[in-house]
């Protein structure tokens, strides 16, 4: 009795069509539940992936490239296409970042930024009878440790021993396995510059990133420069920022000032982030489709109720209920179905997420990689619930408007 009249009538109508109401409520619940579970899964994966990138790779990489090919002097002399150069052969110089010291000093002055320079080049490593081509990266260990996770990734030996021993080298675990080399073994290294050196394995690292573990060897920057015959040259400067979100801005400033291409981690991974955007769009479309189907269910119940209850509508209008009152009754019916569906959907979503969270795989030794990374966001619950209520409200609105316009005189005449 304490219920408002419109709510009372609405509840009565829904109870009068229990089975149909339950089906449409379940439709909404499934839509909302799947949305919450899938959103937790995808958002969780995306966040985990993003965090892994932020943790493992540098936030900005300055490389010895230019985004625009150099302008030829003859082109700047005759602007506007008066000359058309073809078949240009680039100068046969060896590339590298020339003023690396100035760049490093400048970045060192940015608060919250760490910087490390590297020189990478090809090397052939020989151990016993095995030859393996690898990428030899020259690093400054103390700076490198602050920019990448290399120090944590050392499985055997240590990063510091690069500095304390002559001709020390670090090998990726797979590379070491291929060569059959272990800690302390002595290898022959041959570079394209024609330098041959005997090097000692002072550490073995494992990053989990296959291309690094199978293909990369680290040595001191100075030593790499000598071996590649490129004294004082570096070809990458890597930055790590306290706030990774500042990377695009820092990259842009660095590039504007020094000309070398500076790429933020966002730019490097933009293909993946675009795929994430597409994934999200697909997810929202699928959930949207489920909710549209659920909304059709609600539309159906309410249309049926209105068809069955035209006499009741005529009575209520003759008593003095307004069009707005009638519309409200059926809107409430839709919203009740939507809200109960959303609440049930929250429970379904929570349950599904818990199930996903309990699943374990057997992919890798790292337990972090053997489970789903789930994002328990209240926002997903809010979005799911909001979507459901909006869809239900819209589904109810259309028949409700029609019901409100019913002319009681026609109905009473028809019944007489």
């Amino acid at each position: 009795m304490a219920l408002p009249l419109a709510l009372d009538v609405a509840v009565t109508h829904l109870l009068g069509r229990k089975r149909q109401t339950v089906v449409s409520v379940l439709g909404v619940a499934l839509g909302v539940g799947f949305f919450i579970a899938v959103a937790a899964l995808m958002q969780g994966f995306q966040t985990y992936f993003r965090q892994t990138i932020i943790d493992v790779s540098p936030h900005v990489i300055v490389s010895d490239e230019f985004r625009e090919p150099p302008v030829q002097p003859v082109e700047s002399a005759y602007r506007g296409g008066a000359v058309d150069l073809r078949g240009l052969r680039p100068e046969d110089e060896r590339r590298g970042i020339r003023d690396s010291r100035a760049i490093i000093d400048a970045i060192d002055r940015i608060p919250g930024a760490e910087v490390a320079a590297t020189l990478s080049g090809q090397v052939v490593l020989r151990f016993g009878g095995t030859d393996e081509a690898a990428t030899l990266i020259g690093i400054e260990p103390d700076r490198e440790a602050r920019v990448t996770t290399l120090a944590q990734d050392i499985e055997a030996g240590s990063l510091e021993r690069l500095e304390t021993t002559a001709n020390g080298i670090l090998l990726g675990r797979q590379l070491a396995d291929t060569l059959g080399a272990t800690l302390g073994d002595s290898l022959i290294a041959v570079t394209p510059a024609g330098v041959t050196r005997r090097v000692t394995v002072e550490g073995i690292f494992h990053t989990g990133i296959e291309t690094l573990d199978s293909n990369v060897a680290y040595t001191l920057l100075k030593r790499a420069q000598v071996m590649q015959d490129r004294i004082n040259v570096v070809n990458q400067i890597r930055l790590r920022l306290d706030d990774p979100n500042r990377a695009p801005e820092v990259a842009q400033r660095t590039e504007a000032r020094f000309g070398y291409k500076a790429e933020s981690w966002q730019e490097t991974n933009q293909n993946i982030f675009q795929i994430f955007t597409i994934q999200n769009a697909i997810m929202y479309s699928i959930v949207g489709a489920i909710l549209v189907v659920a909304a059709f269910g609600i539309f159906n119940v309410i249309s049926t109720v209105i068809f069955e209850k035209t006499r009741d509508i005529a009575i209520l209008k003759s008593i003095g209920l307004t069009e707005g009152d009638i519309r409200r009754i059926f809107l409430i019916e839709g919203l009740i179905a939507g809200m109960i569906g959303a609440l049930l959907g929250w429970a379904v979503g929570y349950g599904l997420t818990e199930v996903l969270a309990s699943i374990r795989f057997d992919f890798s030794a790292d337990p972090e990689e053997n489970r789903f990374h789930l994002d328990y966001s209240l926002l997903h619950y809010a979005i799911g619930g909001g979507f459901a209520c909006a869809a239900a409200g819209l589904a109810a609105w259309l028949p409700a408007r029609r019901a409100a316009k019913l002319n009681p005189v026609e109905i009473v005449r028809g019944a007489a």
């Binding site: 209520l316 003759s318 008593i319 003095g320 009473v412």
Partner: protein, 228 residues
């Protein structure tokens, strides 16, 4: 004093390829406490006139006045408000909400009006049902009541907000003689004792004779008893 209900040159034409004239120009004035019986052959426009007087329909020409006030320029919501406060309808087919008990049906107009608290509405509704001899039926649903009882519940609902006018369209059309007489006794009592105006359409000459005034319609026009 202004009449409670007044029709001035009311015409109602249904538009269409062949327009149908339901009411062809009726002037009628009904005062407080009158018990008016509208009679006439089938298709003469009795129901149409009742819908116009009850603000369920709007005239094509002419005006309907309630307590001296022209209703022509009222919005649909304002008409609904007038129906709620001043008018009560009873139809031939009792037209109760089937899922609601007799009591709940009688409560609907009061709940919409919102003038009384929950307890007071309940007391008033039970008192009304008692006045109509239904004190024991308050908690029954319509399908548990007889035809005559249902029609009395419908009358109780029409009276829920103390209307100025009760409008009934062949309220006894589906009732046996005994129940029909009960309904007319109720109407007579209402008009006589509480000054409520009653306008009822009926086919029954014997019942019509009990009204204080008779209005006869033929082809959408008044034939006699039009003055007053």
């Amino acid at each position: 004093m202004a009449p409670v209900l007044e029709a001035r040159d009311v015409v109602r034409v249904l538009p269409g390829e062949v327009p149908v004239t339901l009411v062809a120009g009726i002037t009628l004035s009904i005062g407080a406490g009158e018990f008016v019986a509208i009679t006439g052959p089938s298709g003469s426009g009795k129901s149409s006139l009742l819908y116009l007087l009850g603000l369920l329909d709007r005239p094509t020409e002419g005006a309907v006045l309630v307590e001296g006030r022209d209703t022509g320029d009222l919005s649909a919501a304002e008409m609904a408000r007038l129906r709620l406060e001043k008018l009560g309808f009873v139809f031939q087919f009792h037209f109760l909400l089937p899922e609601f008990s007799a009591l709940a049906n009688v409560l609907i107009p009061m709940r919409k009006l919102g003038r009384f608290g929950d307890a007071e509405m309940r007391d008033r509704a039970l008192a009304l049902l008692g006045r109509l001899g239904l004190e024991d039926q308050a908690h029954k649903r319509p399908d548990q009541l007889s035809g005559g009882q249902r029609q009395r519940v419908a009358i109780a609902r029409a009276l829920a907000n103390d209307p100025k006018v009760v409008l009934a369209d062949e309220p006894t059309g589906n009732l046996d003689t005994k129940n029909a007489q009960i309904v007319f006794d109720i109407f007579s009592g209402l008009a006589r004792d509480s000054g409520t105006t009653v306008v009822t359409v009926t086919h029954d000459e014997h019942l019509a004779a009990q009204a204080t005034r008779r209005v006869h319609l033929v082809d959408g026009r008044l034939v006699d008893g039009a003055a007053g």
